[in-house]
């Protein structure tokens, strides 16, 4: 493979090269490429998050300027644009910016996605100059990320009526599900990098309903996972009707069923009627 030398760093010719100088007077002190096998050395257990989306490579640049905080730019190359979106979707808290396909900024942290890349730019502490540079750097880096990518097809699995768009999350694994909504220590839904999952909330006057749709590699895999979920999570509860409605110990309702390769779940709903209504919409949408 063709290589070139960047400072002390040998990198592939097709690798992304982060800029050496950004804004006014900010220079790259360190640029680094981190592979999946090296992620724990770089960020300890935090690396599991990026592994849970199958990241391919991480490009890191650290920028400094006298009298200003350090700015760290991380550019994660993901297997697909859907995965880049997925990482971005985990938390959209912040001021929305027109950088890349979507971006938010808050308190010195900017996250964005563009094509197959998830972008994370952070300053050690916020100054007006650092804030400006974080945003400029992100704009500069977006240009290295290639064309726009498609968001996950899974977004269409959630019925649009009543959905809070800011609540939509896309992911694959049990670990991420448990971060978003603790279900069980055991992987009761057989989630893995081979499954695609989308989650969203449906607020109403009576409370919020939480919806989860998971796509498996085959119908039998979906059926097997649903059977495991019933055994591992719903044991001892009375199941009612076509949508397998269940009243949980906290008085909220859960509904779920398999449709072809998907499991459709309403994990929490304030009333039986609401749960049934959303389940029916889910079945219709999928």
């Amino acid at each position: 493979m063709t290589c070139m030398l960047l400072g002390l760093l040998t990198i592939r010719a097709d690798a992304v090269v982060l800029p050496s100088v950004v804004c006014t007077g900010w220079k790259a002190d360190r640029r680094q490429i981190v592979k999946p096998t090296e992620i724990f050395a770089y960020m300890n257990g935090a690396g599991e998050l990026y592994l849970a989306y199958g990241f391919k490579e991480l490009y890191v640049g650290e920028y400094t300027k006298a009298g200003q905080p350090k700015i760290t730019c991380e550019l994660y190359l993901m297997p697909s644009s859907a995965d880049a979106y997925g990482l971005f979707s985990l938390d959209r808290t912040g001021q929305a910016l027109k950088i890349g396909q979507s971006a938010v900024y808050d308190s010195g942290l900017l996250i964005a996605w563009q094509g197959k890349f998830f972008i994370r730019v952070i300053t050690d502490y916020e100054t007006s100059e650092a804030k400006q540079c974080v945003q400029e750097l992100a704009k500069q880096v977006v240009k290295l990320c290639g064309p726009v990518g498609r968001p996950p097809e899974a977004l269409a699995w959630l019925p649009p009526n009543g959905l809070d768009p800011e609540s939509v999350r896309y992911f694959h694994t049990h670990t991420v599900l448990n971060y978003l909504y603790f279900t069980a220590t055991e992987n009761v839904l057989d989630l893995s990098l081979n499954t695609n999952a989308v989650m969203g909330t449906y607020p109403s006057n009576t409370g919020k309903s939480l919806v989860l749709v998971i796509e498996y590699s085959s119908v039998s895999a979906a059926q097997s996972a649903f059977a495991r979920f019933n055994r591992g999570y719903l044991k001892g509860l009375k199941v009612e009707g076509e949508n397998n409605l269940v009243k949980l110990e906290n008085g909220k309702w859960l509904g779920g069923k398999v449709k072809q390769r998907k499991i459709l779940l309403v994990l929490e709903s304030p009333t039986r009627a609401e749960c049934e209504r959303i389940m029916n919409a889910l079945v219709k949408t999928n």
Binding site: N44, T175, T185
Partner: protein
Amino acid sequence: MRENNERIGEDQLIASLKCGMKIDHAPKDEHKRGKDKMPYEKVTRRDFLKSAVAGAAGLAICGPKAIAAEKPKAGAKSIVAIARAANVLDENLQVNKQSAAAILRQAVAAAVETKTSQDAWKKLIKPTDIVGIVTSKAVNPTHMELADIIKEDLMALGVPEANIRLPQRDVEAVKECTALIALPGLKAHWLTGLGTVLKLYIMYSGKPSEYHNENSVKLGEIWNLDFIKGKTKMVIIDALRPLCDKGPQPDPRYMWNYSGIIASTDPVAAEAVGLKIIQAKRDEIKGEPWPLSPPPLCVEAADKQYGLGTCNFDRIRIVKSGPTEGMLV
């Protein structure tokens, strides 16, 4: 009426998520599938819901076992000291070392119930000890000024500088130590709920990834490894600028200046108090209950399963000093 009831239910859920969940033991045939499986590895959200309904909060096993020094006497409470100072971080988040030293020493003295921190260190550390100060490394690290202050105090006690180590990830170095001071940063962790005291020694296991995900409940067993057990004399949590979500990667959306030090000889009690602060901040940010996810099962397991200390607030006495506003506990 319904809303009130639901709100009460959520509060109960939060309480049970923190500590005191009633675990339904798996059926006998489930246990046969793997002898190593503990009940904590088979927990579902419904276990918390059941606990909340039952109002269960009792703990069967309490009291520090692994901490060598200052074991509470039967019936005694574990002391957790919190000391805070408003000016400990400046506007650029740099540590004011003088202020940091003052609250650190205050917390150490209060945790051991001595007049001064020097008296406390005398009770815990011998001048002949080889002392390891274990800090959080990598992302979101401990403020190293705190390690410097402890080092200075240990040297004042008569411990030679060469015998004060920062073993961090080095198993061989920690084996040489005769005493350890745990100095983690207070932070939520997206894999384990909390990534503070109990997770600090994960690298000493030699297989950190085996303690991720559902296996994080076993973090307490690392404290019982033969080259760790009994060595930890003091836990000092760096709560200057904690992180209450998305840890361990720093995320300023969820970081704030708590400007405090939490100290205890009971690692589980210290963790439980840190957890309470993190949880309170999360609820404050959202304006409604925002339970840590996944729930930090390792805290209660460290108490019940590994006997490292107590997470039962009936058995913890919190001693506070400094600004009360934003104390969160």
